[in-house]
Symmetry: C2
Subunit: 206 residues, 2 copies
């Protein structure tokens, strides 16, 4: 059974890892199981992630936290080329709506993404990916908060607060849902609460 060139790639590995996490949780992801799912010996993964599981985790975190699925996380973690998300940038610039609507759109997309990969949420607690996308996001924030009348340090602080609120909301939701609770909320109510807090925060920031 000496099958060589199994067609492995960083992208395939990452996708399969997310699949396993979705199905069996983060604790269910082992190199051996990942190898099985890819129909490959576990050790083959180390050729694409030489630093092992830690590097795989970093890539997963980068992929999940990436506000748009451009696939930037598939390549190097420190992406020095910023060509591939020009579409996103143009899209953000072309958006003619008021600043708060632009930020709301961004925040809801970010929340949606975190929620989609909520099984990997705990990976984000200790890993800050430096994806090309984070620069794009920062540009969007600066532009919007500038338009809102903020200046200097306040812009960074407002962007930080918005980020914090988004990730915190998802953590809060994941923490408190799925428990056989007498007062369990459904997805619609969670989304409503998110928007309520988001509106409040944006109103208070300016």
């Amino acid at each position: 059974m000496s099958r060589n060139n199994a067609g492995l790639s960083r992208e395939r590995i990452l996708i399969e890892a997310l699949h396993i996490i979705a199905g069996r949780g983060l604790g269910g992801l082992s190199m051996r199981r990942l190898g099985d799912a890819l129909e490959v010996e576990a050790m083959a993964i180390y050729h694409h992630f030489p630093l092992g599981k830690e590097q795989l985790f970093n890539s997963i975190a980068a992929y999940v936290a990436s506000p748009s699925p451009t696939g930037a996380a598939f390549h190097d973690e420190v992406g020095q080329d910023g060509e591939e998300q020009t579409e996103v940038e143009e899209q953000a610039v072309a958006d003619e709506r008021p600043w708060d609507q632009r930020l709301t759109t961004w925040a809801e997309a970010y929340r949606e993404r975190l929620l989609t990969y909520s099984g990997a949420l705990s990976l984000l607690a200790h890993r800050a990916p430096r994806t090309p996308n984070s620069a794009t996001t920062w540009a969007l924030m600066r532009h919007a908060f500038d338009e809102a009348g903020l200046a200097g340090e306040d812009i960074e602080r407002a962007a930080d607060a918005l980020h914090s609120y988004c990730i915190g909301s998802v953590v809060h939701q994941v923490r408190h849902s799925g428990h056989d609770d007498e007062d369990a909320l459904d997805a619609r109510e969670w989304a409503a609460r998110f928007r309520f807090g988001l509106r409040s925060l944006l109103r208070g920031l300016v």
Copy 2:
């Protein structure tokens, strides 16, 4: 070396676990290492945490997220008796300051606690402890937001938003500090940013 009755207890195990997490990270906490630190065979821990590591993790999460270190997490995870934190309740009731100052005090204490045990932060992403303290916190929130003029569902939503912001801020800080970054922030600036967002959120909520 058949030493029996090593004086093990839930509390001692929990404290030692937090110690290991602080020193070597969450991944460095193994039952065997924990046993070594307690000068006991690893299997002795199972007598106090019959459900194993998962139960230990739940207890750690309950302890860390507990807004006041009353030791409630040492006993059962579903604490049905609420006698031990009457002091906290009385203290909260006796607080005569305006509602926003009371919430600010709570939020900063909560943040401080999460930051102290930041190594266990990722445990909070999937575990919602039902400690006696959470009832106390809820009472404090309801009282404060009621005084602020909120009513009905808005009180729950505001409390959720405040919780989300606090935990999100700590996750955000932990994510982005400790990386040899050109623009690394110090503890004072992180605290300032937290207060900035907190003030904004409270202002926007009412």
